[in-house]
């Protein structure tokens, strides 16, 4: 193809809906008449609960607001809008929710007819079971062991992480708006560039630099708009906020963000190698990048799977401690507490955790400060059990046993814990990440089915 000499993509938000898009820089960007409006709406930063429980962590109003500004601008201009990882997790229910929002907004603003494409990425457990039984290896990432049927038992929900493939297909089907299931954030920016005939090397880099919006600019500001421009030779990225600039340092530093290594980025279909990237200050607000390389995978495409499983119901108890001797011997106190609980609940179907703020509540075993320097401690008791009733009893037991834990030298004999409320508080159920793995596929579209509907007047 390559009928266009350049392609401009606007990104207003690095995690659409998580905090609202700042409108001022968005409308400055819209005046540049980009060819696409793209934003990812997902993250696995938010822990395993949203995926497992199939909920969003972003408020409905913010999600809808962010979709609204993008929909108005892109429809006014008559260019496509692409959203990946709908509703934080990209599950089917989140895709349906975003599709519903787009329909509502089209009605609200009397938008003329347009094509809305969406694709799902939930993966049925049965399908994974079948693959495992066929001997397909589901390879663990980041030091994890390969996935087993036993791990599958512990899993409640699985999403596959899309590469460029379903986005290119949706654009081929004439989509004006795309709502994607779980996706690699870089893919939804790379897809339109690849489809327009630009080199994969630069197209994937375009996605890499744009996916977090203004995080690639300085000074630091979140949810501000940036625009990326791709040609056959380079990628340029420009900050739209009047006070932000994309500099060599800010763009290079962004390559490191939330990644274990600044040189490699993996996506379904290959790896982006940024070791030979060259950064250059193009103008006041623009950084120019050349030299990234995309290395297609040898053999079958490997699709990443994310999975979450419920461990149990959860209650939280809060206990404050001011007695200096108890503080000094908090480890002994908690050992006594654990012993008491074990005596009362000798079975193994529960977990109880004590997070001690003032000691190492934030860093746990990584905390280098070993000596407690605080005159107060706050102990969070986290109890997880098969039923709410049992979780509540355990959390209360944890609190009470701290209250009663009297080391012989303690002068105060009426109680060693101060309570804000003498009860345990219900918390969301506990989940864990069960899948951070990759699976080989014959067809990169295997987990993603693209649908197109007509919306608007």
């Amino acid at each position: 193809m390559g009928e266009k000499k350049q392609l401009k993509i606007l990104c207003p938000n690095g995690h659409l809906g998580f905090a609202p898009t700042k409108e001022k820089s968005f409308w400055i960007g819209a005046k540049e008449k980009p060819d696409y409006y793209c934003s990812d709406s997902g993250s696995n930063d938010i822990g395993p609960t949203p995926l497992g429980a199939d909920i969003s962590v972003s408020p409905y109003e913010w999600q809808k607001h962010d979709l609204e500004v993008m929909l108005i601008a892109s429809r006014e201009q008559g260019v496509p809008m692409i959203i990946g990882s709908a509703g934080d997790t990209g599950t089917n229910s989140r895709v349906d929710m975003y599709v519903g929002m787009i329909k509502d907004l089209a009605g609200k603003h009397n938008i003329p007819k347009f094509k809305l494409a969406y694709f799902y990425s939930d993966v049925p457990k049965e399908l994974i079971k079948k693959k495992l039984n066929e001997g397909i290896v589901i390879e663990g990432l980041d030091g994890r062991k390969n996935f087993t049927l036993e791990d599958l038992e512990k899993t409640d929900r699985i999403v596959a992480v899309a590469g460029v493939h379903p986005y290119i297909k949706a654009l081929d089907m004439g989509a004006d708006v795309i709502i994607g299931g779980r996706s690699s954030d870089i893919a939804l920016f790379a897809a339109p560039a690849i489809r327009a005939g630009f080199p994969e090397d630069l197209s994937y880099y375009l996605g890499k630099v744009l996916e977090c919006a203004s995080f690639c600019a300085e000074p630091y500001a979140a949810k501000e708009t940036v625009i990326g421009t791709i040609t056959d030779e380079d990628v340029k990225v420009t900050a739209m906020h009047p006070k932000q600039r994309c500099t060599i340092a800010s763009v290079a530093a962004h390559a490191m963000y939330e990644r274990s290594n600044p040189f490699f980025e993996y996506v379904a279909g290959g790896m982006l190698d940024m070791r030979d990237c060259d950064y250059e200050q193009y103008d006041e607000k623009t950084c120019r990048i050349t030299g990234p390389k995309f290395v297609p995978i040898e053999g079958k495409v490997k699709v990443k799977l994310e999975g979450s499983g419920k461990i149990g119901e959860r209650y939280i108890g809060i206990a404050g401690i001011r007695d200096p001797y108890t503080i000094k011997n908090i480890d002994t106190v908690l050992e006594l507490v654990r012993g008491q609980i074990k005596e009362l609940y000798p079975d193994n179907d529960y977990q109880i955790h004590f997070t001690v703020y003032g000691k190492n509540g934030v860093m746990g075993d990584l905390e280098p400060v070993k000596e407690i320097k605080s005159h107060e401690l706050c102990v969070i008791v986290e109890a997880i059990a098969p039923t709410k009733k049992k979780a509540e009893s355990l959390a209360i037991m944890g609190m009470r046993q701290i209250f009663y834990a009297r080391l012989p030298e303690v002068k105060g004999t009426a109680g060693t814990a101060a309570f804000i409320v003498d009860e345990a508080l219900p918390a969301s159920p506990a989940y864990e990440w069960t899948l951070n793995h990759i699976i080989p596929v014959d067809d990169p579209m295997e987990f993603f089915d693209v649908h197109v509907i007509e919306v608007g007047k």
């Binding site: 696995n44 930063d45 938010i46 822990g47 395993p48 609960t49 990432l141 980041d142 030091g143 994890r144 060599i248 340092a249 290079a252 530093a253 390559a255 490191m256 963000y257 939330e258 990644r259 274990s260 290594n261 600044p262 040189f263 990237c277 950064y279 461990i311 959860r314 977990q351 955790h353 997070t355 509540g361 934030v362 860093m363 746990g364 075993d365 990584l366 905390e367 280098p368 400060v369 969070i380 986290e382 997880i384 506990a430 989940y431 864990e432 990440w433 951070n436």
Partner: protein, 108 residues
Amino acid sequence: MKTKKLADLAKTVRSKNASPDKVTFDIIFNEKENYELVKSSGCLTRETIMELFNIPNERISDFVEFDPAYAIKFTLYRSVTSGSPGESDVFGCQQYPPLLDIEIPVGE
């Protein structure tokens, strides 16, 4: 030998999840001089990280000096996956403070 704390030499010292199973640390400098100073000081290496956090070498998945960004970056495997029971920093964003006090020799 005079020293300065890393906090006084670096522009950014941060930590953040890099997948549910890892936390990554970025130490970024405004100017080449401070970057080179810290890089060549031997005070921020795999070995000093192992000592500071009291972890074996296997816990460090990556240690990178990244010249274009004037940045030193390393990544640790988590002992407990993000958001799991008993885990108390779901974003991994409050693990960097011990780095702030690392003393870097700055000459006479």
